[in-house]
Structures are given as structure tokens and as C-alpha cells.
Symmetry: C2
Subunit: 473 residues, 2 copies
């Protein structure tokens, strides 16, 4: 609630009694995704002699099939951090349903090891069970811990949230009351008028799952004395639809023969400027007198005092001029351009999980109140697409999109897949090829010499003839 927000983040508000320190939990240990076990690596750059920092590209071992025969590949950054701060998870997502009124009749357990696909077969009683598939990328910052926790946890949160509304999911139209009983005879009509469909419950479950996972990460990192945050990009197939939930600056696109469709939207200090400035307008205390919420083309200095300069405030999409006062010389709430844009001089993303303890260097100013853990969710009605053999979803962390445009990725997809339809490893190879293309290879479609020095992780998810599989079985 707002009361909680004020107590947590505003000075002078009465704080809740601190929890007694429990026994220190063991720290989150570094690991790579479990589906990479037993995998080998290939060198990252084609011409290792030219690039001495050549790094290995990793993919699952050939015998290990990911859901829908998706391809995966990753590369670690050029010593920007000790660990690869990207993480990935994928697997089958089984949602249990209990019989009415008999809570003890929960059936069918899928092992929660989604990251070590293939999971044990999912047995569900009768027609009640629904299973889906799940692919997720997490891009950590400030250490790998938050991304690892997210990879271990988010699918469980999602399963729990979906199970909490499963009676609504299996109905043609979600009932007003979860138990299906009508209190007013016109209740179905009210639901109909609001246009509420089963897919809205999945969207709601994804939104809640991200928030639940954020709380888990906050608790776990506090208990283990660790820090950090991560972005999250999740694709879920369920009942013939593909849901893409995104919080951060990773990206998913649909690539078809004649179409490139963005399935996510990046959340950065630039794209969320108005929301962030608005919060600083409502709670100026959050800036502790150290930052200005106004946007200027560059940071102002003494010489600008008294001049009229270009600026934008929270309510403005356009620009105007204002006369510079002393308080305008403070460091800007959002500073820098494009990839260099930072929130409070610290963070390049404005949504994600974790970062509960993150503060501006040498101050007590917190980042968390400006961050949202809630994702934006896009729904792709796969059943309506008239899918073709080479239709794929490409999901990748920002390291890929920093050097490859949507069009360049689509060009690579369309150049590679049609000639390799018989190859069972084509999606794996395509994922590897996408990674290679970020490493300045000569045959890459990027401009000469463009290299990603960031961690890069990619899923290539083929859509063709997968629609059926996503229904209950």
C-alpha cells in the first residue's frame, strides 16, 4: 500500500520494527543454466588471431532437447565482470487443478526443475491439467545473485499464481467468483461487458509472479548478505497462446517470412522518463536535494545560470525553454543518451527484479522506489497466425540488440533457416550464429567491427507445429 511505500522510502515516516536478524543464510552460488551441463564451447570470434579476447560460445549438448526444440546460445562478456551475469531457464510448466471443495485432491506434480529439461513426464488427471512451456532470460547487474535466484524461482511463482486462478483459466469466460457460483444472475454479463477473457488471467498471473519473485529475491539476498538486480524476459506458451512478459531491456521479436513483430518493449530511464519524473514530482524527498528531476540536453553548469535553456518536465512530451536557476545545476535524475542513459547516475534499466539495497554511490538515496518489477505482457495468438515452417521468436539480452537491429536479426534468420530445414539442430545453430554475429565476424551483417562486449544470451523458439503441444496433455 501507499503507507508501506512511504514508510519504506520516505524520511521521517515511522519505520516498522526491524526484524530480528535470523541465522545468516548461505550465499547464492554462481552457476550456469542447468541445461548447459555437459555442453562444450566453440570459440567466439572467427579469427581468434585478430581478436585475442576471443570468448567461448556455449550451447546445450546436442542430446539435450529444449522445449519445442528451441535453440540456445550464450557468450560471456569481455571481462566487464567476473561472472556471466546473464541467466536462462526453460522447461515445461505444469499447472495443477484441484477438484472443487477438496483441497487435498491436488494432483500431478511436475518437478520444479524447469531449468533441467526434459522434465519427468507430467501426468494429469483427466482433462483437468494444463501444461505450457516456459523460456526466460535474466540479465543481472551488481553481481550474478539476483539473476540466479530469478532463474531458480520465477517459474515457481508463475505456476503458483496460475494455479491460484486455474478455475478461471479453464472456463470459456472467467467467472466473476472463482468458485463459479453466481451471486447475481447477471454476473456473467458484467464479466462479458468488461471483456475479461482467460488470457487476462494469465497476464495478471505473470504480473503477480514477477512481483512475488521480486519479494523472494529481496528476502533471499538480505538473508545471505548479497546484493544485485536483474532484468527478466519470459515467454510462456499456454492454451495456444504465447505470452511475452518483459521487465528491463532484453527484447523478443517474432520473425516470419514477411513480418518482423516486436513482442516486447524496453524499459529504460529514457523510455520511462515521464513515470520516473512524475514520482520525483510527487515525492521530492526521494532525491534528497541532490538531483534535479528536470531533463536538459546536457548537464547544466554555472555559465548557464540565468539563460533560457531547453527542458522537459514530467507532464511534457514536447520541449520548452526555462530560465536556469541554481537548483537546475544539480545532477539530473535521468542523465545521458541511449545506451549511456542512467537513472540517478547508477542504473541503465528502470524495471526488473532485485536491487532492494541499491543506493547512489556515497549517499543514502535509494534506487528501488523508481524501479518497477511489474512486466509489460504481450499476447500472441499463435493459433491465428497461419504459421510457416521458419517462423520463430528470437529472445535475447541487450548485448545482442546493442549491435544487431531487428532487421539484421531477421535477415540472419531468413538467410539461415530455409536452407537447413532437415537439420534437427538448426535452431541451436541459428542461436550460435546470432551470438557469433555480435563478435565482429567479417560475414556479420553489423557495421564493420561492431562487437558486443556485454554478456549475450539468445533463445530461438520455433513456432511451427507446436500449437497443439501447448494444450493440456
Amino acid at each position: 500500500s501507499a503507507g508501506w511505500f512511504r514508510r519504506r522510502f520516505l524520511p521521517g515516516e515511522p519505520l516498522p520494527a526491524p526484524r530480528p536478524p535470523g541465522p545468516r543464510a548461505s550465499p547464492v552460488l554462481y552457476r550456469r543454466p542447468r541445461f548447459l551441463r555437459g555442453s562444450s564451447s566453440s570459440p567466439g570470434a572467427a579469427d581468434a588471431s585478430r581478436r585475442p579476447d576471443s570468448r567461448p560460445v556455449r550451447s546445450p549438448a546436442r542430446g539435450r532437447k529444449l522445449p519445442w526444440n528451441a535453440g540456445y546460445a550464450e557468450i560471456i562478456n569481455a571481462e566487464k565482470s567476473e561472472f556471466n551475469e546473464d541467466q536462462a531457464a526453460c522447461g515445461k510448466l505444469c499447472i495443477r487443478r484441484c477438484e472443487f471443495g477438496a483441497e487435498e485432491e491436488w494432483l500431478t506434480l511436475c518437478p520444479e526443475e524447469v531449468s533441467s529439461y526434459p522434465a519427468a513426464p507430467c501426468w494429469v488427471r483427466g482433462q483437468l491439467g494444463k501444461s505450457g512451456h516456459y523460456w526466460a532470460l535474466f540479465d543481472g547487474h551488481g553481481g550474478p545473485a539476483a539473476a540466479i535466484l530469478a532463474a531458480n524461482t520465477l517459474h515457481s511463482c508463475l505456476r503458483r499464481q496460475l494455479e491460484a486462478v486455474v478455475e478461471g483459466l479453464v472456463a470459456t469466460q472467467p467467472p466473476m467468483h472463482l468458485n463459479g457460483r453466481c451471486i447475481c444472475s447477471s454476473d456473467p454479463q458484467f464479466v462479458e461487458e468488461k471483456g475479461i477473457r482467460a488470457e487476462d488471467l494469465v497476464v495478471g498471473a505473470l504480473e503477480s509472479a514477477f512481483q512475488e519473485c521480486d519479494e523472494v529475491i529481496g528476502r533471499e539476498l538480505e538473508a545471505s548478505g548479497q546484493v544485485g538486480g536483474c532484468t527478466a524476459l519470459v515467454a510462456v506458451s499456454l492454451q495456444g497462446k504465447l505470452y511475452v512478459a518483459n521487465a528491463g531491456d532484453s527484447r523478443a521479436i517474432l520473425v516470419r517470412r514477411d513480418e518482423i513483430r516486436p513482442l516486447s518493449f524496453e524499459f529504460t530511464p529514457e523510455t520511462e522518463r515521464q513515470r520516473i519524473q512524475q514520482l520525483a514530482f510527487v515525492y521530492p524527498e526521494l532525491l534528497a536535494g541532490e538531483f534535479t528531476r528536470l531533463e536538459f540536453p546536457r548537464r547544466l553548469k554555472g555559465d548557464d545560470l540565468g539563460q533560457k535553456v531547453l527542458f522537459r518536465d514530467h507532464h511534457m512530451s514536447g520541449w520548452s525553454y526555462k530560465r536556469v536557476e541554481k537548483s537546475d545545476l544539480k545532477y539530473p535524475l535521468i542523465h545521458g543518451q541511449g545506451r549511456q542513459a542512467r537513472l540517478l547516475g547508477t542504473l541503465a534499466v528502470s524495471r526488473g527484479l532485485g536491487d532492494h539495497q541499491l543506493r547512489v554511490l556515497d549517499t543514502n538515496i535509494q534506487l528501488k522506489p523508481f524501479l518497477l518489477s511489474v512486466p509489460q505482457v504481450t499476447v500472441l495468438d499463435v493459433g491465428q497466425l497461419e504459421l510457416q515452417e521458419d517462423d520463430v521468436v528470437v529472445m535475447a539480452t541487450d548485448g545482442l540488440w546493442d549491435v544487431l537491429s531487428n532487421e539484421q536479426v531477421a535477415w540472419l534468420v531468413r538467410s539461415f533457416l530455409p536452407g537447413n530445414q532437415e537439420d534437427p539442430y538448426r535452431f541451436l545453430k541459428l542461436a550460435q550464429m546470432l551470438i557469433h554475429s555480435t563478435q565482429g565476424k567479417e560475414d556479420s551483417p553489423t557495421e564493420e567491427g561492431q562487437v558486443s562486449y556485454d554478456d549475450v544470451s539468445v533463445f530461438v523458439i520455433p513456432l511451427h507445429s507446436q500449437g497443439q503441444e501447448s494444450n493440456g496433455h
Copy 2:
């Protein structure tokens, strides 16, 4: 600032000393747009015997040309209110530019009578002057006063805001400093990197003008002891571009032979649900314990207590279920569906001008903190369109769009214009025809018997061969 917001709207905050009551200003007098002077009316419904409430359709007298030969027509509501609460204005918009450093050298005054076009010729020294055109619709509620003030005032606010940034408007790229001097040699590069163009200054000026006009209306109505609010939809042509600024539920669309393009977006309690719920989350005091900010399919009642029902909160696009508590039985912050949706049980729009004194019936709960006066602005690059003879913008208040879809309006435009290219009054006649189509005429494309009982006002603005005229002359 936020301090102002808190003092103005939150209980327990120290109030500024009340202004001493000045002499009571004379009330805003009811009138119709000045360009309707000398006009005649035609009956609203084709078959007056069938519809005894037949109301007159009004248009400008045939000798009175509106800017760009635009057509205009209006009809009063079916006795919903004593007055026609819609208002309209249009005319030439002259923007003066002063010579550097010589403020007294302001040149060229256009009479501010934009609503009585044609204005006296606008003479501007050399190439400095820029003139544009302006069309505006205002839909009042709670009395006609706010809409009349807006029709009298908004163009002056806009002219003032544009003149304040005119040095930036005439440059290829707005300078970082309004006086054009560079303090850092890289200042132009910073502006370039932010992608700031002259059109962003026009957008900013429109945003500021709406807010300035809102303040003027607040002061004037307080001084005259009147109340009310209005929506505002404004189209401005300037330097080859058409800007459409909208605050409320009026609508503008571009109709071409092969295209229907929305130029505005409606702001209602439904379309702005998340923003409104978010404010109630941040400042629960604004609801005074009388409303719940949560959305449910219908208002809950005692029988729902303890049940799990569908709901949405401010951070949710999807739906979920929650167990009903007593506080969920309160009246919802946003209630009703579609045209019946109301903010705090009171207002059907969430943006507009005025309403400074509006309170929920029999309470002290204010509407104003939930309303925005800032418009959303769409920019149409008319120069890029390859315009054809029958390309028009149709602007109308919600009374039209309640019974005609975009497609139906486009069908009427395309049926009428091509056969009447020689008729100098074709846009006037088209505007009248659109109004007639909301009155249940038999040849109307609406479903049998659909009649708008609301005030309806329409501008039809032809775009062809007008591009040049909008440049300075």
C-alpha cells in the same frame, strides 16, 4: 510543484493564506461561436413529423469562409441542458517575433478575434513572421461557462506560448539556449542527440497553453462565482505540419481514399484507469474513505464478502482474483462501462479544462486532482502525405462518435466528396450531413434508429493544396 499539490488537495496540509475576495467579476455570458453570426438553421431530422423533438442544425452563413474553407455544423442536445455546452473557435494564428535584444520592436498584431474569421490581414516584417491556422472544439459540462472561456482564451495562450519559443521555431534545429548563443561548443550536438526538433517546441507550447488556459478558467470562474469544465480538441497548422492536441473524449481522424488514421486518443476514466488508480494509491486521502480504488466487474455487495472475485489494481493490465473484504464494498473510484463509466461517480472524462470547484455530490471529495489539463499531441507531417483532393480531417465532439464509428464517418466522406468537387460549399455540406447522420435519418449509415441526444459539433478540414498557405505570409 508537489508541495502545491499537497497543500491544495490533501487534508491537514497548511493552506496558503486565502486571497482577499476581490470585486465579484461579471459572469461569463452564454453565446454561440462568433463565426455563426448571421447564420440560419436547417431542421435536424429529415422527417420532422416522426421526431417531434427535431432540433436545428447550425452552420456559418454561406458568405463567411472558415480557414482552409473548412466546414462546420452543430446541433444542440435534446434538452439535456438549457444551453448547447459545445463551443468552437477557429481562425488565423499569428505568431510575432521580436528582433534580438529589442523587445519594443514587436511587430505585426493579428486581432485576437480568431473566432470571427476572416481576421484582418496579418502583416509581418520580412521573413520573421509565421502564421498558422487553428480549429478548436470544446465540450462543456456542469454549465457552458468553461467551454466559452476556453473558446475565448486558448488560442491566445497558445500564441503566447509559441511566441515565447519562436527563436527556436524558426531555426533548423532549436538551439540549446533560446538566445542562440552557444555556451559549450558541443551544445548543438547535445540537442541533436536528444533528437529535439522544432515540432517538439510546438508540442511543448500546446501542452503549456492548455495548462495556462486551465489556470485562467479557474481564476475567472472563481471570480464570477461560476462552475464547470470542458474537454478541448485543437488542430493547429504550422510550418507544413498539422498538430492535433486532445484533452477529453472528442476525436479527430484523417480520412483519405485508402486510409483512416486516428489523430487523437480519448481520455476517459476507463482509458486512464491505471493513472487514476495510481494517484489514489499514492494519496489514499483523496478518496476520504468513501471510495475503493480497486476495479471489479460490478459494484460489490454484502453477499460477496469472503468470496474470491475478479479485480484489477493500478499496476495490473491483466485480471486476478481477491478475497472480498469490507472495504471492497465501497463505491468504486471508476464505475460503469463504456459511455456510462464515471470517475468518482461524477465525471465521464479524465482530462480537460476547468472543474476546479467540482466535488462529489454531498461530500468534500474533489475531482480536480484526478484530472489532467495536459493534452496528448499528434503531429501529422502534411508535406509527406501526397495529398489528394478529398483528404480531410474530421474533428467532432463525442456526440458524433457515440453513434458513428470512424468507418461510418469515412464512408460518408467518401460517398459525398468525390461527386461534389465543384461545389465551394462541399465541406460545409459534409459537416451538416455528418450531423444529420446522428439524428436517426433513414439514409444514415448508423444502425436503425440510433440517435445522438447529446450536443454535436463537427469541423471538416480539407488538407489538399493548403500546405503552402500555412507557411509564413
